[in-house]
């Protein structure tokens, strides 16, 4: 700047407040705040109602467990184990279906398939539970028997096999089917958004279609796949009816998939036990709800961490 500078502007430009902007910014602020308030209220309720269960003598709980953790731990285990199984089965399938819809199927067929998937998402969970008991459990019995006989030396498949087929594996399959639609829908959306630029970069190097997918579509879709998996996992962790209907629970911690004694899940246990609970047992159930709340929070934070970790390489710039 030179010494003969223009005199400072005497009438500074004042930002004009427009009604539309004000309304919009206030509404979005209020919505954002409402989420936090609701979350806080839920947390406060859970913590306040859990406190009595933390201080009381565990002898007073149903089944007189030696300690609070002896009651909660099998449920936590069952919840994580069944959800992990469901995710392990459903995620590869969801990615596969989404890839088929986005990159392999002719346009007509892919629209039809997309429609079917969305329809699956609208089926209420009670129906899945009924399907699990009535159709799936009897259908998988022979397969379970075969697995225990021939692969029984693997602890996962150790016998004796359940006589009803209503095992944690069956419940996990039902959960997997339930979380499949939302995961597929999210993966499909993100795969369709892969920049043509990157797909063509791979093809022009002489990539086959599958190599193109591994070089450009999957890396680009990775955050979406993880988000989809977390949404699915969240649903599986909290799913109540399907598990409550399929499993007849025992308070055990066991990885065995095919036996008749299976751990229950937190949500299913609350649904099954709540009607007959009284006094401090209600607080106990609410405490397990608090644990589920915390587990879900942790799962989501891990997902965030994974998505953010390789941000430099995400191509979102």
């Amino acid at each position: 700047m030179t010494a003969t500078e223009a005199p400072p502007q005497t009438t500074p430009l004042k930002a004009k407040q427009r009604l539309g902007d004000i309304v919009f910014s206030r509404t979005s602020l209020a919505s954002g705040a409402a989420i936090l308030v609701i979350l806080a209220l839920v947390a406060v309720f859970l913590i306040a109602q859990s406190l009595p269960a933390l201080v009381v003598d565990p002898e007073k709980f149903i089944g007189s467990p030696p300690s609070l953790w002896d009651y909660v731990w099998p449920l936590v285990f069952g919840t994580l184990w069944s959800s992990a199984l469901a995710l392990a089965m459903a995620l590869p399938l969801a990615v596969g279906i989404a890839l088929f819809i986005s990159h392999y199927a002719p346009r007509r067929l892919s629209q039809f398939l997309g429609y079917i998937i969305d329809l699956l998402a609208a089926v209420p969970s009670v129906v899945y539970g009924l399907w699990g008991i009535g159709v799936l459990a009897p259908a998988v019995l022979p397969a379970y028997a075969w697995l225990t006989e021939n692969l029984g030396w693997i602890p996962l498949f150790s016998g004796p096999v359940s006589g009803t087929g209503r095992t944690i594996l069956t419940a996990s399959i039902v959960l997997g089917v339930m979380i499949l639609p939302v995961m597929t829908a999210i993966c499909r959306e993100i795969f369709l958004q892969t920049p043509v630029l990157h797909e063509e970069a791979a093809l022009a190097l002489g990539a086959t279609r599958w190599e193109m997918i591994t070089m450009s579509v999957l890396p680009f879709g990775r955050p979406g796949i993880i988000s989809g998996a977390m949404l699915g996992l969240g649903r599986a962790l909290g799913e109540t009816m399907a598990v409550a209907m399929v499993l007849s629970p025992t308070a055990i911690v066991s990885f065995a998939l095919l036996q008749s004694t299976n751990p229950s899940t937190i949500a299913a246990n609350i649904a099954l036990s709540f009607p007959e609970s009284y006094g401090v047992n209600v607080n106990l159930l609410i405490f397990t709800g608090l644990v589920l709340f915390v587990i879900t929070l942790i799962v989501n934070s891990i997902a965030r961490y994974i998505v953010n970790r390789r941000k430099d390489f995400s191509g979102a710039n």
Partner: protein, 259 residues
């Protein structure tokens, strides 16, 4: 390493729409051929038929022949994947793989089809390709950084390095400088001059000076109007196209009267 390209009576379609009509031309090895012409006349469409990238678009197909050293790219049983290894391509917008490091970007084509390559061979190839693309000195200290972390001009040279790493016979470039600043553009033009020693190069450009600076031969394409197919109007030595073209439309275009 470089090969001659012969195009015979090529028609190029997007579904029912004929985008390019009846092109025949001969491109000599170790030369630079520029395609010029107004927007929409089918330069990109045509250049993409030379490595079978055109058919990637649903409904797109060609009629006619493209021979590379006598072998028809569109002959029965020819695998487009193998064609694209022989004929590399650089796009208008730099498109390094954002999820890969600079090093992995260079190696991307080499590692396709499960081909294995030892660490030392890979290091050597990365250095050779990046040197070939005049990029080595700028990135040698950050080979593990993401491919998208360098400037646009560097990204485009990275894409060239990635293309030459697979040792193609021909390199196609579709307006490789149109998204770049003047300095980066000059860097790429110098590079084209060097690459000509080893490769047959075909470049689409909007920039008349660029065509006259870098190319040996120039093809002028034109279009009668929207909805009509683009046609090859004139194809000759660059010197002649820019000084003494035989078609009036060419003269009007290179002298800036339209386009």
């Amino acid at each position: 390493m470089s090969k001659r390209i012969e195009v015979n009576d090529l028609n190029v379609y997007y579904g029912k729409f004929k985008a390019v009509e009846d092109v025949s031309m001969l491109i000599e090895p170790r030369s630079v051929t520029a395609f010029i012409g107004p927007s929409g006349c089918g330069k990109s469409t045509f250049i993409r038929t030379l490595n079978r990238m055109h058919e990637v678009i649903p409904g797109a197909y060609v009629e006619g022949q493209v021979l590379i050293d006598g072998d028809d790219l569109y002959g029965p049983g020819v695998d487009p994947v193998l064609v694209r290894r022989q004929v590399g391509m650089v796009f208008q917008r730099p498109n390094p793989f954002p999820t890969m490091s600079i090093r992995d970007n260079v190696l991307a084509g080499v590692k396709l089809n499960n081909r294995r390559i030892s660490k030392s061979d890979a290091d050597e190839l990365v250095e050779r390709s990046l040197r070939g693309a005049n990029l080595w000195n700028e990135v040698k200290d950050r080979l593990e950084r993401p491919g998208a972390s360098i400037s646009g001009g560097q990204q485009q040279r990275l894409c060239i390095a990635r293309a030459i790493a697979v040792e193609p016979e021909v390199i196609l470039m579709d307006e490789p400088c149109s998204a770049l600043d003047p300095i980066s553009t000059l860097a790429i033009e110098d590079l084209i001059e060097e690459l000509k020693q080893d490769y047959t190069i075909v470049i689409v450009t909007h920039n008349m000076q660029q065509a006259s600076r870098v190319s040996d031969r120039t093809a002028f394409f034109n279009i009668a109007g929207t909805g009509h197919p683009g046609k090859l109007i004139e194809y000759d030595d660059t010197r002649i196209i820019f000084s003494n073209p035989s078609v009036k439309a060419t003269e009007d275009y290179v002298s800036g009267k339209f386009g």
